[in-house]
Symmetry: C2
Subunit: 623 residues, 2 copies
């Protein structure tokens, strides 16, 4: 956490100074906005927190409900989401509060008496094997609380406008704010003009309806009851995540934060074609009864039902996530464009990545940093991810819903679970080449940083103070591009030195795309990692691009120079773990943490060309 560089900060450093539209932000929803977010779910709230880092942009979030979400909804948090929380500054707090999944156990019929369940396998959770962050369970309401705090404490000081209902919109193409949005609040109906509207308004999205996009998918065939309950029980895995396949049906059992509560997804069986959603009327008593039948010989005595619901599995995805392939002004995110069963623990996570993907793009376009065409990449990148999710989720749900007699190897659910760990962790997303994702021509220079996938952090040593730090954790959700130069040798190496000098020259993206008068690191956060133990790196021998002065006092930033070989406090070798070439490499990382390019240190022209496509030239922005 860096602060004090604009002068001494006495109070909570998480409170960033208000700026731009965050200064004296009006409590009332104004008549004209740049970005209007509809809905305060995970996609919308993350987007608000991200837009609050662009205080030059007027962003408002409207929500029909009168206040925060109190209960229910999603609760599974993938490691990718915890990485994202880290970028927004609250990972350590939510980890302390959440349930950490260490194991997934599997239960099946006892061969000696198939009416009774027995534990058939214990499986270590995948998360910590492929990320430095855990796999968590925590109430969606708390995730939203933390994003709300991040939005409120960021320079744009965004707080949701509760009690405002979206009624409809038209795009009439007039001027900077071509969208007319009809809303209803306590005082009646009114029209708000916006440059862009983002529909984060859930599965029955009225924004989606307004732009005529279709939610494509199968009709539901299987129903599940879900309940958050406090119980007395003799079931020994009450506090362990488990999948229970009994003769009497199936349960996905998810312990919750706080040490007592658990969530159960209880199989309610096939839904008849003529059911007409009658299954949704299943009373809680019947859900509990089924749970007890499945758990036999164990049982639960429910002391409190915190929340319950019945849903039919529906896998649906919208054909496009925007209103126009060339000049989009309306976007869809989260359940508004993809819905699926809750049991693979995907929904909230994928929705948040929608918001993370879109936020910086809106910020860059609206501040003049990037061309409008950047916005076409949102649907192009996120729609295939949603489709992939649906495919995975179908496979997973049908596995979960099998009858015992269909299971030939009792361990195959466990095997499938581990083999596909990258997906439920949130790490399988790989964006295709575009204006903001390079080709993989030089992938061999850094095989462990696949182009298009999220930047996978490794612990390194910060040279200025010898502290062990995760290289990727320095990247906050501040809308900046990251450029990591992995050096070929210690400071003074000709290749690194030449690259560093070029990066400070008029031809470099830093100089071409950083607005006049802005700090040198306002758009690009440029770091270097040396293939040396930290004691062998002389901080002041590095090119000045890695030691920029910024802020009102023009102070040197001491946190851009790293050592990548093991030293006293760090056992990892980032060069070995990420297979960095001896010749070094340049890794370009997007503001949403995805690897955008891998290039040789010598490929300065290609680096310049890449950013000429991704950003506006010359910089027209004030950030």
């Amino acid at each position: 956490m860096q602060f004090h560089h604009h002068g001494y900060v006495s109070a909570d450093p998480r409170v960033q100074p208000a700026a731009g539209t965050g200064i004296d932000r009006p409590a009332e929803l104004p008549d004209e906005v740049d970005v209007l977010i509809v809905g305060s779910g995970p996609a919308g709230m993350l987007l608000a927190a991200q837009m609050a880092q662009f205080p030059g942009v007027t962003t408002r979030l409207i929500e029909k409900r009168d206040g925060r979400l109190p209960l229910g909804q999603a609760d599974g948090i993938q490691p990718r989401s915890v990485e994202t929380f880290q970028a927004f500054g609250f990972a350590e707090r939510i980890v302390a509060e959440a349930y950490n999944i260490a194991w997934m156990n599997f239960w099946g019929p006892d061969p000696a008496d198939p009416s009774r369940i027995v534990r058939t396998a214990r499986t270590e959770d995948y998360a910590l094997k492929i990320s430095e962050f855990p796999h968590l369970i925590v109430n969606q309401a708390r995730v939203l609380d933390y994003f709300a705090e991040a939005a409120a404490l960021a320079p744009g000081r965004i707080v949701p406008d509760y009690g405002v209902e979206f009624l409809g919109l038209t795009v009439d193409g007039a001027g900077d704010r071509p969208v007319a949005v009809r809303v209803r609040d306590a005082s009646g109906e009114r029209t708000i003009r916006a440059a862009y509207v983002v529909g984060c308004d859930g599965a029955r999205s009225r924004v989606r309806e307004a732009i005529g996009r279709t939610h494509v998918g199968e009709s539901a065939a299987h129903a599940w009851g879900v309940m958050d309950v406090l119980v007395e029980t003799d079931f020994p895995d009450w506090r362990t995540k488990c999948a229970i396949n009994a003769e009497a049906g199936n349960i996905l059992h998810i312990p919750r934060e706080g040490g007592y509560l658990s969530r159960m997804y209880i199989d309610l069986g096939e839904v008849a074609a003529d059911d007409d959603h009658r299954v949704r009327q299943t009373p809680i008593e019947e859900i509990v009864r089924r749970a007890n039948a499945i758990l036999h010989p164990y049982s639960i005595d429910v002391k409190q039902v915190a929340w319950h619901s019945v849903y039919e599995v529906g896998h649906r995805v919208t054909d496009r996530f925007d209103d126009d392939p060339e000049h989009p002004h309306i976007f869809l995110a989260g359940d508004a464009c993809h819905t699926h069963s809750a049991k693979a623990g995907q929904g909230m996570n994928v929705s948040m990545q929608d918001g993370f993907n879109l936020g910086w793009k809106l910020g860059h376009v609206l501040t003049g940093l990037a061309p409008d065409s950047l916005l076409t990449t949102y649907s192009a990148e996120r729609q295939p991810v949603a489709q992939q999710l649906i495919d995975f989720d179908k496979e997973w749900s049908s596995l979960m819903a099998r009858k015992p007699e269909d299971i030939t190897d009792p361990n195959d659910l466990a095997t499938y679970y581990l083999a596909t760990a990258e997906f439920p962790s949130g790490f399988m997303t790989q964006y295709a080449p575009s204006a903001i994702v390079g080709d993989a021509a030089h992938q061999d220079l850094a095989a462990g940083f696949p182009v298009g996938k999220r930047f996978h952090s490794v612990e390194v040593t910060r040279v200025s103070d010898g502290n062990p730090v995760h290289l990727g954790h320095h990247a906050r959700a501040d809308g900046r591009w990251r450029v990591y130069a992995f050096a070929d040798a210690a400071p003074g190496s000709p290749a690194l030195q030449a690259w560093g000098v070029w990066m400070a020259s008029p031809e470099s993206p830093v100089r071409r795309h950083t607005p006049d008068g802005a700090d040198l690191d306002a758009v690009f956060d440029v770091k270097v990692v040396f293939p040396r133990p930290f004691e062998e790196v002389d901080f002041f021998a590095t090119p000045p691009i890695f030691r920029p002065r910024s802020g009102a006092l023009g102070l040197t930033d001491w946190e851009k120079v790293y050592a990548g070989r093991p030293s006293a406090w760090v056992s990892a070798d980032i060069f070995a773990e990420r297979e960095i070439s001896d010749a070094g490499a340049v890794i370009v990382v997007r503001p949403d943490q995805y690897v955008a390019h891998v290039l040789p240190l010598t490929a300065t022209d290609e680096l310049a060309a890449f950013f000429a496509g991704a950003l506006a030239t010359p910089a027209a922005a004030s950030v």
Copy 2:
């Protein structure tokens, strides 16, 4: 973090339900209180946070200043203090915000040109070698903010009464509130009656003066300038803690949180006997000039002075920390009873432990859990710690203030630093036998848990969910005693079973000292650790004392049964690391985390006798 056991919690679980005096707590300072804390420094604020866990007690904290501390003061945080923050629920947040000390470097004159300094040694910081928590640097103001939050969110809902000045007190021995305290607030002078008063009012304590205690110590002989500054510099260790011994003088250099700021303690030399504190008028320009002379050939260009001061080293300790050896009603804590040089980074830390030592004792006595005599242990335990601190600090300060020609081995400062690591980490404190510390007759059953020293946590596996957790971190600053049964074998072992049955019997301290109607774990948090991997421990085969039901819904607590042998997520073996006997052991830990007793599983009579001395019998309390 455990919650939901009184029913579902939707919002921040760190906000505990208000209770007792915390419900409708009056904003105005009342005429009668149980505990009056004078001063809002580290001792006073920790004490407020602790007393807020005893909502049956009316506690108020008065502070002359109009609001929170904005600047300056102490900044060094020992691992023992971070452990304490963990108990109060904010360790992960302050760690994320603070500067972590990984190294301490040493600089001395260059033998080739003694006018220039060179780095002579790098020393890994001691903290992580002897604690799971780091050694931090963070502004005292932030530490106070976090304790203020803990106090405000705890059941007692304590917030400081700012703008109230302590004028004097008399103990007239009348009734339950024998202390008459004169204070002045905005409306004038008034008298408040209190049962107990705690003077946390700093080095010039008026509470100390009021009870006629003397601050004993040497007159000052050495002066230091201290400044928190933002600079431009070519000194490569600006972000590393270091001790600089130059021909031109000495600096202790401490990087601060946020990545830019550092604090420098600059030697201003011996103070003449007739100086009459004129040295305190040394201007900041002179302090900066001296710093630059010492740093030669490096230099600093100061861009902003956040805070500066000049002080003369004064080692002083008060003869007693209370007003009466037998029936104390007035206590002193923090700088009010011990002052010393700031350079060993001790002051704030020792002061906080004063508060931690006293808080639960006041809570137990005032709620009827413990006899009044418990309060005599405060001065008996803390005064020797302060004396030990003074002795260490003198030695350390004189080492730091040596001239280069006095240093025969350039590494001896580094050697001394590491050899004495236990002290600056805050772990050397060992309380002597008393009513609340047993003798060491059975110490050999658990050599790694020395009686009288703080309980040193180890990672274990929680049986109910297979999660790796630090055994000691489950202990929060909630005023409860902890009893850890280290089993001799898996559940079912006769010794453990017999102990567990006895602990639920009428003869056990649990039954004798827990008030009627209170939860079974209201006073004692009883846990078990098995010498087995967690997969081999059957939760429901453990004695019921380890599975108590509590809260409004009578829910089973799943977090009292642990496995101490290595398993998938835990490499530590607590039995090996803490040298637990094969016969098992019972470890009793005080509410302030100090080991109070080590006993065999068979020594139930001794366990009962120990608590008969530490607690009131029969329980007279309502907690």
